[in-house]
Amino acid sequence: MRVTQGCFSFLPDLTDEQIAAQVQYCLDKGWAVNIEFTDDPHPRNTYWDMWGLPMFDLRDAAGIMKELADCRRVYGDRYIRICGFDSGHGWESVRISFIVNRPREEPGFRLDRSEAAGRNLRYATHSYAADRPEGKRYADQ
C-alpha cells in the first residue's frame, strides 16, 4: 500500500528538483522549514522525530536539501516529510507538509474491530510496522 498522508502522495514520488521548488516556495513565504522522520506512520502519530530544529532563518532551499540528504543517509529506510511552518498571527501552525522519502515496502495497517453492545464497533488502526521494535521496523530493506 501507499500511505497517502501529506500534500503530494497521489503524485509520482517527487524528484529532488521538485522538492527544492516546494521548499523554496515555503521560504519565499517566510515559513520555517522542518524535516521530520518516523518508522510509525500511524495516521494519529502527530509527532514524528525532528531532524534538528526547524530552519527559521534559512532563505535558500539548497541548505535544506543538504539536510535532507543527510537525513536520508541515516534514515533512508523510513518515512521522511518536509513541513513549512507559519508563525504568523492567526495561523501559528503547519502550512504545508509532504512526504519526501518512504520505505521500499509499506506494510500498511490492519483494522481491528471489537464488537460492543447495540451493534457498536470499536475500531483500532494497527500499524504492521509497529509490531517490531522502534528502529528495526524496516530493517530487512
Binding site: T4, F8, L11, Q22, P43, V94, I96, F98
Partner: protein
C-alpha cells in the same frame, strides 16, 4: 446627502399623543457619528410609490428598534434616545431607481450578548413586513468587536481542523453521497468507503438525509463509520464523513450527535433550517466534544438570492461565524448554483480573514474586525469537476472544501476512480502553483500532464471537459467605484 439637518422634534412636543413621522421621532439623525461599539446595518430600502425615501429609511430604523406606529408616553421612562436606532445616511442605489441604501446604527445595549436569535429578531423582525416598503434587503452588517467577543465562534476553526485531520497546504476534498435519497445504510456506506479510499478526505450526507424509511439514522451512522475506519486503515490517512444530525427536536439532535461521537466520528453536520438557536446549541456541543461542525445552507436561497428583498448571504455568513459552525457552503462561482465571482469572494473573505476591509466591489460595505474569532472553512459544492481545478484554486484559494459529488460518483470507472482523479488533479495543481507556474492559464496542460500517469484523471477530463454553467448572476453588487459619487 449627509449635509442635512436633523428633523427630530425635541422636548415635550416629541411625546404629544398621536402619529408622528419616524424621521421626526429621532430615527433619522444625519449628523450622528456611529460609535465603535454600535452595531451597524445596511439595508436596501425600496419605498412604496409616493413614500419619502428618508421617511422610509427612518421607519426601518424605528421598526427594527424601539418604535411603534404611534407616540407612546412610556418612552419617557427610558433613556429612549440611546435605544433608538439611528439612520444616519441614505444613498440612492447606483443604477437602481427607487431604491436606497440606508445606514442604521444600533446601540450595543439593544442586544443580548451572544445570541443570534436576539439580534435577528430586531434586525430582520417585523420590519420586513412593513407596509410602506415594497421591498427590503439586509445587505451587510458591521459587528463591533465588543459584540463579536460575546460569541464562541467556530467550534474548531480552520487551523485546528487542519491539525486534527493532519492535512495542510491544499484544499480538502469531499463528495456528497448520491443518490441523495433512497440508499439503504449498507449501500450508502459503500459509497463512503469507495470515495474515501479513492482519495477524498470527506464524504457528506445531503441536507435532507435524516432518518427515513429507506435508511434510519443509526444504520447510516454505523455503516458510515465502518467505511471511514476501513478507508483510514487502507490509506494511513485521517478520513471523515459529515453525519447529518438534523432532526425534529434538540433532544433528537443531541442523541444523534452523541452517537456519532461515541462511534468516533470527527465531524457532524446540521442544516441551516434548524434555526439560529439550535445552531448555536450544536456549536457549543461541538466545542465540548472535539467535533467539527459542518453547516449545509439549506433554505438560504429563499431569502438571499434576489437583490431587492431578503438578507444577503454575506450577512448569513457573518452570523454563522459568530454562531460557531466550522464549515459553510459559500458557493463555487463556476458550478451549478448561484454565485457572482466578486460577491462570492466577499463571502469567502468573511469566513476566512481576521479583518475584512470595506470593499464595495465584493459587496462588503464595512470594515469588519473579527478579533481573532476562529476562521470558518467555506465549502464549494454543486456542479464542479476535476477539469476546473485551476479555476477553483484561483477563485477559492487553499482553505476550502471542494466537494465533487457527481464529479466523483459519476466517474465512468467508478467512485474510487472518480476520487483519485480529483485528488491527483488537485495535488498536481498545488505542486504547479507552488513551483511558480502560471497555473490559471496553464491549467489544462497541467491536468493533461498529470493525466499521463493517472488514467482515472484522463477519463474524468474526457467525460466532463465541456461542462460549464454560464448564467447571469441574480445577485451581483451594486456599486460605483467611488461611493461618495453615488450621492
Amino acid at each position: 446627502m449627509n449635509i442635512q439637518q436633523s428633523m427630530t422634534v425635541r422636548g415635550k412636543d416629541r411625546y404629544k399623543s398621536g402619529v408622528m413621522e419616524y424621521k421626526r421621532m429621532g430615527y433619522w439623525e444625519p449628523n450622528y457619528e456611529p460609535k465603535d461599539t454600535d452595531v451597524i446595518a445596511l439595508f436596501r430600502v425600496t419605498p412604496q410609490d409616493g413614500v419619502d425615501p428618508t421617511e422610509a429609511c427612518a421607519a426601518v430604523a424605528g421598526e427594527s428598534s424601539t418604535a411603534t406606529w404611534t407616540v407612546v408616553w412610556t418612552d419617557r421612562l427610558t433613556a429612549a434616545e440611546k435605544y433608538r436606532a439611528k439612520c444616519y445616511r441614505v444613498d440612492p442605489v447606483p443604477n437602481s431607481p427607487g431604491s436606497y441604501f440606508a445606514y442604521i446604527a444600533y446601540d450595543l445595549d439593544l442586544f443580548e450578548p451572544g445570541s443570534i436569535s436576539n439580534l435577528t429578531a430586531s434586525i430582520i423582525g417585523n420590519v420586513f413586513g412593513f407596509k410602506p416598503l415594497k421591498a427590503l434587503r439586509l445587505e451587510d452588517m458591521r459587528l463591533p468587536v465588543a459584540y463579536v467577543k460575546t460569541f464562541q465562534g467556530p467550534a474548531t476553526g480552520i487551523v485546528v481542523e487542519r491539525e486534527r485531520l493532519d492535512k495542510f497546504g491544499r484544499p480538502l476534498l469531499g463528495a456528497t453521497v448520491k443518490p441523495k435519497l433512497g440508499l439503504s445504510g449498507r449501500n450508502y456506506g459503500r459509497v463512503v468507503y469507495e470515495a474515501l479510499k479513492g482519495g477524498l478526505d470527506f464524504t457528506k450526507d445531503d441536507e435532507n438525509i435524516n432518518s427515513q424509511p429507506f435508511m434510519h439514522w443509526r444504520e447510516r451512522f454505523l455503516y458510515c463509520m465502518e467505511a471511514v475506519n476501513r478507508a483510514q486503515a487502507a490509506t494511513g490517512e485521517i478520513k471523515g464523513t459529515y453525519l447529518n444530525v438534523t432532526a425534529a427536536t434538540m433532544e433528537d439532535m443531541y442523541e444523534r450527535a452523541e452517537f456519532a461521537h461515541e462511534l468516533g466520528s470527527n465531524i457532524v453536520m446540521i442544516d441551516l433550517v434548524i434555526g439560529y438557536t439550535a445552531i448555536q446549541s450544536m456549536a457549543k456541543w461541538a466545542r465540548r466534544n472535539n467535533m467539527i461542525l459542518h453547516l449545509h445552507r439549506a433554505g438560504h436561497s429563499t431569502y438571499t438570492r434576489q437583490r431587492s428583498h431578503g438578507v444577503s448571504f454575506r450577512v448569513i455568513a457573518k452570523w454563522m461565524r459568530l454562531a460557531g459552525v466550522d464549515h459553510i457552503h459559500a458557493g463555487t462561482v463556476v458550478g451549478k448554483l448561484e454565485g457572482d465571482p466578486n460577491t462570492t469572494r466577499g463571502y469567502y473573505d468573511i469566513c476566512r480573514e481576521d479583518f475584512n476591509p470595506m470593499q464595495l466591489e465584493h459587496g462588503v460595505f464595512f470594515d469588519q474586525n473579527w478579533a481573532s474569532l476562529n476562521k470558518l472553512m467555506p465549502v464549494a459544492s454543486g456542479g464542479i469537476h476535476a477539469g476546473q481545478m485551476h479555476q477553483l484554486l484561483d477563485l477559492l484559494g487553499e482553505d476550502v472544501v471542494l466537494q465533487f459529488g457527481g464529479g466523483t460518483i459519476g466517474h465512468p470507472r467508478g467512485i474510487q476512480a472518480g476520487a483519485t482523479a480529483n485528488r491527483v488533479a488537485l495535488e498536481a495543481m498545488i505542486l504547479a502553483r507552488n513551483e511558480g507556474r502560471d497555473y490559471v492559464h496553464e491549467g489544462p496542460e497541467i491536468l493533461a500532464k498529470a493525466a499521463q500517469t493517472c488514467t482515472p484523471l484522463r477519463e474524468a477530463l474526457d467525460v466532463w471537459k465541456d461542462v460549464t454553467f454560464n448564467y447571469e448572476s441574480t445577485d451581483a453588487p451594486d456599486f460605483v467605484p467611488t461611493p461618495s459619487m453615488a450621492v
